[in-house]
């Protein structure tokens, strides 16, 4: 037992040592450089961008990085018109946008979206068809799914939400969402609402699932970072950074940093899955 513990501690130290080494290398690229990077667009990216910016700016005070939101559409437009250096999108840039602005895309994370219910909900799994019917308002009582006799409270996100977009496209196959569904403004608000409502059903980014919520199996597949990576769980999307033309200098270093080992670690800590 003691032996095992010892090995465990040694291995942990080893990993820690490795990771500090790696992070030092990641930030080395910025040594002695100065300038500004402006970032805007997709809001899902913000935690990753902010943490990366913070780490770079604390070790290199001559570099200034500003991070703003605005949504994927804004990301494309601002990057295309040269108003920001990096425009973030939670979707692939369309061919039209690519040819109009000459954008180059850099995916750095996989984000999955999962259906969530109250943790006391007895249901273990749902099929995609059932989810579609619930959100379309065809199934309105948990009894119809083998649950208790109670009306289903449907929660959804606003139209600006990238989470809604991927859920709508890949889970609902662009099907209808009933007008009477409650609309909440963020992943956090969705968590609060569903965690407090016994009859709720909603959806969040996989990174936001914790033990305050229950994520039922979808067609027998558990929504998790692992199944999203393996491809078993289908409701996923990529998060992209986009630049007008090939990135140069500081912007190039930033993108490499986010897509590098330390960036991957930040991405993971933010609840997303780094792309390989």
């Amino acid at each position: 037992m003691l032996r095992k513990l010892e090995t465990f501690i040694i291995i942990t130290f080893f990993i820690l040592a490795m990771s500090t080494l790696a992070s030092a290398q990641g930030l080395d690229a910025f040594k002695g450089k100065s300038g500004n990077i402006e970032i805007g667009g997709g809001t899902a990216h913000i935690p990753v961008m902010k943490e990366a910016a913070k780490r770079i700016m604390t070790t290199n005070p001559a570099i200034r990085i500003t991070v703003a939101g605005g949504g994927s559409g804004v990301g494309v437009q601002k990057a295309g018109e040269g108003l920001v250096d990096i425009g973030n999108t939670g979707r692939a840039v369309t061919e039209a946008e690519k040819s109009k602005y000459g954008l180059v895309s850099f995916p750095f994370a996989i984000d999955g979206v999962a259906v969530v219910v109250h943790k006391a909900n007895p249901l273990h799994g749902l099929t995609q068809t059932q989810v579609k019917d619930i959100f379309a308002g065809k199934i309105t009582n948990w009894k119809q799914l083998g649950g208790p006799n109670a009306a289903i409270d449907v929660y959804t996100r606003d139209e600006a939400s990238g989470t809604r977009e991927v859920f709508w496209e890949k889970m609902l196959s662009k099907g209808a969402i009933i007008d009477s569904a409650n609309v909440v403004a963020s992943n956090g608000a969705m968590k609060t609402a569903v965690a407090g409502d016994k009859n709720a059903i909603g959806y969040v980014s996989i990174g936001h699932i914790d033990d305050t919520l229950k994520a039922p199996l979808l067609d027998g597949v558990e929504p998790s970072q692992e199944t999203a990576v393996s491809g078993a769980y289908k409701v996923t999307r990529l998060l992209y950074m986009n630049t007008k033309g090939e990135p140069q200098g500081l912007v190039k270093s930033f993108i490499e940093y986010v897509r590098g080992p330390e960036g991957a670690e930040i991405t993971k800590a933010s609840g997303y899955i780094p792309t390989k």
Binding site: D179, N182, A193
Partner: protein, 282 residues
């Protein structure tokens, strides 16, 4: 010296006036593409389904009106009661306490009301009425009435303070108690104050964003009952503002802004005219 002061005041008045006009111009300019031709019928319709190309904001307009009306229906009698209590119906010490609490309420940030209500009021509503998620017209309306209550009370209070000294000797000479004086003399004379308080409170209720955003459920529908979710114009703007700035959905926000602007101007003009005629009488 006086000339400089007068000039400065004139200048700041001019700047403030121009700013308001500029806002109006800005809103009109941006909603112009919608306001002429096909856009208008698109925006003035009952369905908000941006992915299907439907951009109606009428449900939100109705939602705003419903919510502010019911909020005032609760806040106004309550405010009136509190004010009468503080001005002679109630004993002196609790009366002072009531006014103190009301003054304190003005300093509570809106988000605190919203946040507390999400965890206390919403589950209560959900449990009390079996249907619905609790995020409803009712929950938002109750919280909103709490929010506008100080506005109502303080407006009325100011009005009472104006009237009371004038009638004090007379009512005392007639042998009326303070409570009777409030009931038979001050209250009838404060009618215009009551109107002003309701107009101001209504404007505040229409304009508030956070309470409906956090509590009303934001479903873009005309609520069928107090337990249904509804969306106000302000919450609508907050929810949609992050979309692509080229889309019709985004442009329709300027129409929402224009409606809100016109509402607040109307409320202020009403107040103005009330004050003027009141000044003539007093």
């Amino acid at each position: 010296m006086e000339r400089i002061t007068r000039g400065l005041l004139l200048l700041s008045a001019l700047v403030a006036g121009l700013a308001v006009l500029a806002i109006l111009g800005f809103l009109v300019w941006f909603s112009l593409p919608l306001l002429c031709g096909e856009g208008l019928t698109q925006v003035l319709s009952w369905r908000w389904r941006p992915f299907q190309g439907e951009f109606g904001i009428l449900p939100m307009l109705v939602g705003s009106l419903c919510l502010s009306t019911t909020s005032m229906a609760v806040a106004l009698p309550m405010g009136l009661g509190l004010c009468c209590f503080a001005h002679g119906v109630g004993p002196r010490k609790p009366a002072a306490l009531v006014m103190g609490v009301v003054r304190f309420m003005t300093s509570v940030p809106t988000v605190v009301y919203g946040f507390v209500a999400v965890f206390l009021l919403v589950p209560l509503v959900r449990a009390a009425f079996v249907s619905g998620s609790g995020f409803s017209w009712l929950a938002a309306s109750l919280t909103l009435s709490l929010l506008v209550l100080p506005t109502v009370v303080l407006m009325l209070h100011a009005q009472f303070e104006l009237i009371e000294p004038r009638v004090r000797l007379t009512t005392a000479a007639l042998g009326l108690t303070r409570a009777q004086a409030v009931r038979y003399v001050v209250l009838p004379a404060a009618q215009r104050g009551l109107l002003a308080a309701s107009a101001l409170g209504f404007g505040r209720a229409v304009g508030d964003t956070l309470v409906p955003l956090m509590l009303a459920g934001n479903a873009p529908q005309v609520p069928g009952s107090l337990l249904d979710a509804t969306r106000t114009l302000t919450a609508h703007i907050a929810l949609v503002v992050a979309t692509d700035s080229q889309s019709t959905a985004y442009l329709s926000l300027f129409a929402c802004g224009l409606i809100l602007f016109v509402t607040s101007v109307a409320v202020n003009l009403t107040l103005r005219s009330l004050n003027r005629s009141d000044g003539g009488r007093a």
